[in-house]
Amino acid sequence: MSLGLVIGLALAYISLLFFIAWWIDKRSAEGKKLITDNPYVYALSMAVYCTAWTFFGSVGRAATGGLSFLAIYLGPTLFMPIWYMLLRKLVLISKNQHITSIADFISARYGKSPVLAVIVTFLAVFGIVPYISLQLKAITFGINTLTHFGEKAPAISLNLLADSGFWVMIAMAIFTAVFGTRKLDPNERHEGMVAAIAFESIVKLLVFLAVGIFVTFFIFNGPNDLFARALTHPQTARLLTFEDASVAPMVWNMLCLLSLLAIIVLPRQFHISVVENTSARHIPRAMWVFPLYLLLINIFVFPLALAGKMLFDPAVNPDTYVLSLPMSQGANWIAILVFIGGFSAATSMVVVEATSLSIMFSNHIVVPLMIKSRMWTTEHRLVDGAARLLDIRRICILVVLALSYWYGHAVGHNLDLVSVGLISFTAVAQLAPALIGGLYWKRPTGSGALAGLLVGFFVWAFCLPLPNMAQAGILPADFIENGLFGIESLKPNALFGLEGLDPITHAAFWSLLLNSLVFGVMSVFTQPSTLTLTQADIFVNIHKYVNGQEAEILKREAKVTDLETILNRFLGDNRTAVLFNEYETANNISLRDQKIARADFVNYAETHLAGAIGAASARLVMDSVVKEEVITLNEVMSILQQTKEAVDHSRLMESKNEELKELTRRLTEANEQLKHLDSLKADFVTTVTHELRTPVTSIKSLSRIILDYNDELSEVQRSEYLSIIAAESDRISRLINQVLDIGKIQSQSDSLQLREISLADLIVRAVSGIRPLCQEKNVDLALSEQFNWYKTDTKSTVTVMADADKLMQVVINLLSNAMKFCNPHNGRIEVDMRVQDRMAYVAIRDNGEGIHPSRQDIIFEKFTQLHSREQGKPLGTGLGLYISRLIVEKHAGSLIVVSEPGEGATFEFSLPVC
């Protein structure tokens, strides 16, 4: 058969998949009912479990190990009743938390731990890459069998471009990149991809049944004939029982266990059955349709293996039987169908696995690194975050596939299909204790999960891949025979002296045992973090949360605008707008009218963000804008009590930081504005920034002290420092407001809202506003007789053209200055008013220290402050009098001070009377 024909068929088949995926995606975009929202499609897509290994490798294994291959498919079936309960829980939790992968799930359960996410991701990559490479290899191998039937298989080509496997890898990478990362969906669903996978499941099943029927009924005369001959044939008779095929009970059980765990923890199974699940309602039907599928696809495996054994020379590789049997009968079209079926099995596995791994890799490794390196914050204006995330995903897919391709060439070519698959199963099975334990038991901690995973992973690596590598000559093989460091009990095939098991069973036994033990013991002896506790409660009691009781544990708040900025950055503007709309419609509120978002919107935002970048990263990002409020859940409260002090403290710091951030923002704003005001001199800007630096310095230094040396601080010190921080923050905001005022007054001369107003009225209002403060400080505030008189006698009412608000600012400023500087023991302020030569004069007199003549001009300058001898530096910005004088002058009046040291001071302003 010509190579061109085979490659052409493969490409045609991939194009068909493209078409299906594209069509379904188009329908989905048009809002039509999804074909994937269907229990049968769901169950069929689960059949991604059956890979090229099922297709070619099962027959191969049956030809050597008899019926033991069935454990890989019976295990999941037998587990279905338990899986049903487990899967419902997984799906509910994942929908609730917007989980995107198994790494995300485990990390989310253990306090959204970034470290765990990274470890799980690496474990998955280590475990799965060989498995993917196996699929690529199976395709190449299929092509070679088809094109070189009856000849010696060609050596693996060293020329990359001439290697069909290379092109297969590229085609798959393109398909995956297009349909596995089509859009950034918060639920990480890919309808087109799922539909294509379901289609492939049908193809592989039909093809396998076809070849089975062909061999059983056309080469042989039905099953009875085939089995009767097998019973007497010397090559096959021993395969009919476990005993004769020397399948130990332990091996059978371990294979069942590994495969039932694989159905939960294999990244592609998790992705299809949990992440891509459209509705929990589909689960019940899938629970019997999926095992039925497994039964059907396996029904002819054993007959095929027996047939191959009987018809072919023992030298023929049993993995090729499915292809060689029809070819030996000249039924080339069936062989081609078989190739398409195997190709189908391989592509579906590779596509889903690569999608899932790329989600993990980008969410848990690349994005956190980018957040840490602040790439998002510095460039977010220039780059569309969503598009960028998708690009990262695509690169990750390519990396994963290239890695697999490389592995296949460098390491994998001396292993058979089934053993590579089982090594992968054993690797990912290490995730099971942390995953399942965390679903039903609240106690496990992040450290427990981490320790268990690491121990399991190392035992696995030591017992399986390392000896293989040693046999391939990459590592010194010495440790296989003599144990690690020459220690007898550290032999990778007989750990702690346990002999007589095959390598897979042996490794699975020790790694899972030690993993679970360490996980359990560490969990009991370590303390969970607060977040782990709250997450544990959600995960274990998910039904309670789904039913809407106590939907939130931590009450968190954040500014709506902050949340919007973050969502824009990671999800893109459109998606953010849609999310806001959805939320507003669902809750019948307008978010833009609310400054502060309530807890449920914060959670809403975080879970959607988690859909894009994973729970741990989302948490990291949200922490920057969110402040946590009261914790309500009673159960958690009792445990929280111990850490409450720390929490309280950090909350206070958080809110301070929040304030600081806001101040910085306004500072920049003010600075910008200053720069653009041509009328302001450069040195003024310098002075302002200098004046701003001072409070910023104390805030920065003291808040760092509180953060860094919290343990060393006494309660008194801490509250002293915090109140300084608060006071200095106030100072900055006052300063900024006043600088902005000056800017306004100086730049827009016509901005005064001039109206005819009664001066007496205004002063009386100002005085009554400040009177309570005076009473508090025991200062006597007296209005002169004239005020009553002006008020009652309408003829002599003093009317001025003025901006009431601005003028009020002047009077209040003068009054509060007087209050600040009057005699601290028996303070008295007098307010007087007179009219002379069409000018109205208002005088405000205090009985303080007075102002030395040499200082009387300086006080009207910017940023000058008087220091009273006793009180040190008064709290003020040094801009009040400057602004007051500016305002009065804008009204064509003047502001002066009359004072003798020791005699108090009188500030008097004048305004033209109408």
Partner: protein
């Protein structure tokens, strides 16, 4: 999920584990044909099919109300 359903599912699981394990599996581990089919092969597939039926019965809500 009702306790009743959970109980059914757990019983099915336990039965399945027992049936697909030694010593019961050993009874059928003989080099003989039953109805022209190898005994172990026959046994495994029959148990398998039976399991699927049982699971289907347990998880599908047969007396649910039809909507629409």
């Amino acid at each position: 999920m009702s306790d009743d359903k959970s109980a059914k599912l757990i019983i099915i699981f336990v039965v399945a584990v027992l049936l697909l394990n030694y010593p019961i599996m050993g009874i059928f581990d003989k080099r003989e044909l039953r109805y022209g089919i190898p005994m172990l092969y026959y046994y495994l597939f029959v148990v398998w099919a039976l399991l699927i039926v049982l699971i289907g019965l347990a998880v599908q809500n047969r007396n649910r109300r039809k909507i629409g």
